[in-house]
């Protein structure tokens, strides 16, 4: 059966619970407004089971009721990640077994961008969204060059540290600077390395979309909301499972 409804306590009852705040004072009219919103969301009848003022100007509601929408599970489209998501333990194990040495990641904010929020969220042990950053992974050697790193300096450090992967972040950008900076970076790495020896190039930032990898000349792009675990899992997939640099020449 591909058509389903939410389940409360009886098949097909369609029951859902909902909570939200409206920017209105707490009174009868506010409750009516909450019912109206719930109705428009497809809940009918909508039962306001709780309403409470939050200060003089806001009201919080909890609403229960059946929704009249149906969902068709056969029509759900899922964009599958093309690499498996691994836990830190699995990442470490895969590197230890597959590479038999630590995997070196060099990260930087390039160009004039001083906002290390993106690269730090991915690299710093403090991490992002409840996940620890790459520094937390025993088998990853992380070199975080910080902000405003010039491309030649990045290439130099990548060579000195024998980088397996380069992570560049671009957060604040004007007049497409994030695109130009990243293209400059990928071109510099192509010039400095033979294609089968070049580190995996990864660009990240809220202004990028995953489809831009080709245009930017990088191997992978990560957009807004990427977590360190996703990046680590990708690096394992690219460098350990698929051994990308060696395969490029083949």
């Amino acid at each position: 059966m591909s058509i389903v409804r939410p389940y409360g306590d009886t098949t097909g009852d369609g029951m859902v619970q909902l909570s939200f705040t409206l920017p209105v004072p707490h009174d009868k009219r506010a409750e009516g407004a909450a019912v109206q919103l719930a109705n428009k969301m497809g809940m009918d009848p909508a039962l306001v089971v709780h309403s409470k003022p939050i200060g003089p100007d806001f009201t919080f509601f909890v609403v229960y009721g059946p929704v009249n929408h149906l969902v068709d599970t056969s029509k759900v489209e899922v964009i599958e990640r093309d690499y498996p998501l691994l836990s830190p333990k699995e990442v470490n194990l895969a590197i230890r077994k597959g590479l038999r040495r630590r995997l070196t990641v060099v990260g930087a904010c390039i160009g004039t961008d001083a906002h290390t929020v993106g690269i730090d969220a991915i690299l710093n042990i403090k991490g992002f969204a409840g996940e620890k950053g790459l520094e937390y992974y025993r088998e990853l050697k992380v070199v975080n060059l910080g902000a405003q790193v010039a491309v030649p300096e990045l290439v130099r450090r990548a060579k000195a540290d024998k980088a397996d992967a380069i992570l560049v972040s671009q957060v604040v950008t004007q007049r497409e600077a994030h695109v130009l900076n990243t293209k400059e970076m990928s071109a510099a790495f192509r010039e400095a390395y033979a294609e089968d020896a070049r580190p995996v190039l990864v660009a990240g930032g809220p202004r990028f979309t995953e489809q831009m990898a080709g245009e930017l000349g990088v191997d992978r792009v990560f957009g807004r909301g990427t977590t360190p675990g996703e990046v680590a899992s990708y690096l394992v997939d690219a460098l350990v499972t698929k051994k990308i640099p060696a395969k490029r020449s083949a």
């Binding site: 909570s19 806001f58 919080f60 730090d120 409840g130």
Partner: protein, 523 residues
């Protein structure tokens, strides 16, 4: 606060030993801090003397001036003598003009000698004294306002975070939070500010997951909370972060703008921001001296270790860090009432007896530091996005806070790790706190763990492990211990990390009027 004291039968000899080991471990670090200075310590002197503002690129004048002086005469003598020598020589009528001239390259700095030296020294001291007087005045002002409006009725004080990125959004949110019951408002900083080697200027409206700490933002928020204090009839405290590369400057600005609490951990920047250890220890000593003078309560960051290391296995590293933070704080002149030593409710809730262990750890901290307003931090690591379970977990966290007489309770959000708190999240979280504190009442008066039961034994075990770790640290040296990954599993060698190029060993001619005044300690 005394209710929970002496409930665990801790061996006083072991407790004394733990403190004396912390002192032994910390002493060489203090010495190191005394032998070095940093760009940020020197810039703090310029800020104390009243230099504000930034150039058209947004780089503060203190940075422009400091960079030029450093290029001319180096950092090792301190910046005060060459700067006030230039003023005494009539190179500019005041600091602001001097900074502009320095930036345009029309002044050259030198180290004064003989009579010029004496003149520069006394001019520098006079300028720093004026700033110190402003800080002292702010402290008296706080005392007056607390007297007028009163302290919160209950302990723990309720600590809430706002973080919109826009100071003008933060203000109504902070005032709403105060109305809903918050005693302390913390404005989280924009991600990445800790790694900026300058303090941004002015009122800011664009931050990432937080709002920039600037002098103007401090002033605006403090003024708004003064209004709230009047309205609510209790003094609402304001908190920010003295951490990262500009720790000494931010501490100074906090003193000048009457902030009430500052996050100020001795090792956080080293471990979690990869800031050079020497830079951090020099900066934190100066900033703690300022906090001591300004009557600011510091909050330390032990909760962070438990977000990376296991809260059961690493419980003793929290105790060790608290003891080190206590030593460094007292050495810098802070008193017990100013030590918001951190700890957190981060044990995996799926473990059997996890609540008993949380109680044991919290009671241990309470009893080891009976006169400090401990800062009790909510669960983050095991908050999963299941907001209903998270709400229950926060309830248990609040219960530990009530049962163990914590001084400051950071309100946990059921939407931790999901979204930055919504207005309803905050309201629900405060209801949770109020219910638990009200329902538990003075439960701590009745609650006495079995002298040889699980809780007492666990506390003794953690204390024992702390002493063992402190012994290792004393043998190895604290800097080496940090380099080996003892805390939070991070390895931070002393010759690496950010901000190392901003550190210099003091020369025999070094002079810093702020440090001189702080160490004289006369108010």
């Amino acid at each position: 606060m005394t209710g929970a004291v002496k409930k665990l039968d801790l061996d006083p000899v072991t407790v004394r030993k733990a403190r004396s080991l912390a002192r032994k471990a910390g002493k060489p670090i203090v010495k190191l801090a005394q032998q070095h200075t940093t760009v940020s310590v020197e810039r703090a002197v310029l800020r104390l003397a009243g230099l504000t503002g930034a150039d058209t690129e947004g780089i503060p004048w203190v940075n422009r001036l400091a960079d030029t002086v450093r290029a001319d005469v180096g950092l090792e003598h301190g910046l005060a003598l060459p700067v006030w020598d230039a003023l005494v020589r009539g190179q500019a009528e005041d600091l602001a003009v001097l900074a502009q001239k320095a930036a345009s390259g029309s002044v050259t700095f030198r180290m004064p000698e003989g009579r010029d030296l004496a003149r520069a020294r006394s001019a520098a001291r006079k300028a720093a004294t004026a700033g110190m007087k402003r800080i002292d005045g702010r402290r008296r002002e706080r005392d007056r306002l607390i007297k007028r409006h009163g302290d919160p009725e209950q302990r723990p004080w309720i600590y809430l975070i706002v973080a919109t990125g826009d100071i003008y959004e933060d203000i109504p949110q902070a005032q709403a939070a105060a109305r809903e019951g918050a005693d302390i408002i913390a404005v989280i900083r924009s991600t990445g500010q800790s790694l900026l080697d300058y303090v941004p200027e002015g009122a800011t409206r664009e931050g990432f997951a937080g709002t920039y700490a600037t002098q103007e933002n401090f002033r605006l928020m403090r003024a708004a909370l003064d209004d709230s204090s009047r309205e609510l009839g209790r003094y609402v405290r304001l908190t920010n972060y003295a951490s990262g590369l500009c720790m000494p400057e931010i501490a100074t600005l906090a003193g000048l703008e009457r902030l009430d609490m500052m996050l100020n951990d001795s090792m956080y920047g080293i471990l979690f921001r990869d800031i050079n250890p020497i830079r951090t220890f020099v900066d934190q000593r100066f900033s703690r001296q300022i906090h001591a003078r300004a009557g600011i309560i510091i909050n330390t960051g032990e909760d962070n270790y438990l977000t990376t290391a296991d809260a059961v296995e690493a419980a003793h590293t929290v105790t060790v860090s608290q003891l080190l933070n206590e030593y460094f704080a007292k050495e810098a002149g802070l008193e017990d009432w100013q030590l918001g030593l951190g700890h957190a409710f981060e044990i995996n809730p799926d473990l059997p007896d996890s609540f008993r262990m949380e109680l044991a750890h919290a009671m241990l901290a309470r009893q080891l530091f009976p006169n400090a307003p401990l800062k009790w931090m909510p669960p983050t690591r095991h908050m999963t996005g299941d907001v209903f379970r998270g709400y229950l977990l926060d309830g248990f966290f609040n219960l530990v806070g009530a049962m163990t007489g914590q001084g400051i309770l950071l309100v946990g959000m059921m939407t931790e790790a999901v979204v930055t708190p919504w207005i309803s999240d905050r309201d629900l979280a405060l209801q949770n706190v109020r219910y638990v504190l009200g329902a538990a009442g003075n439960l701590h008066e009745d609650f006495r763990p079995e002298p040889n039961g699980f809780i007492a034994q666990r506390a003794r075990q953690v204390l024992g492990e702390s002493v063992e770790l402190l012994e290792e640290i004393v043998d190895d040296g604290l800097l080496n211990a940090i380099g080996d990954g003892t805390f939070g599993l991070m390895k931070r060698p002393q010759d690496a990390g950010r901000g190392l190029d901003g550190v210099a060993k003091k020369s025999s001619e070094y002079y810093n009027p702020a440090i001189e005044l702080l160490e004289e300690g006369t108010r």
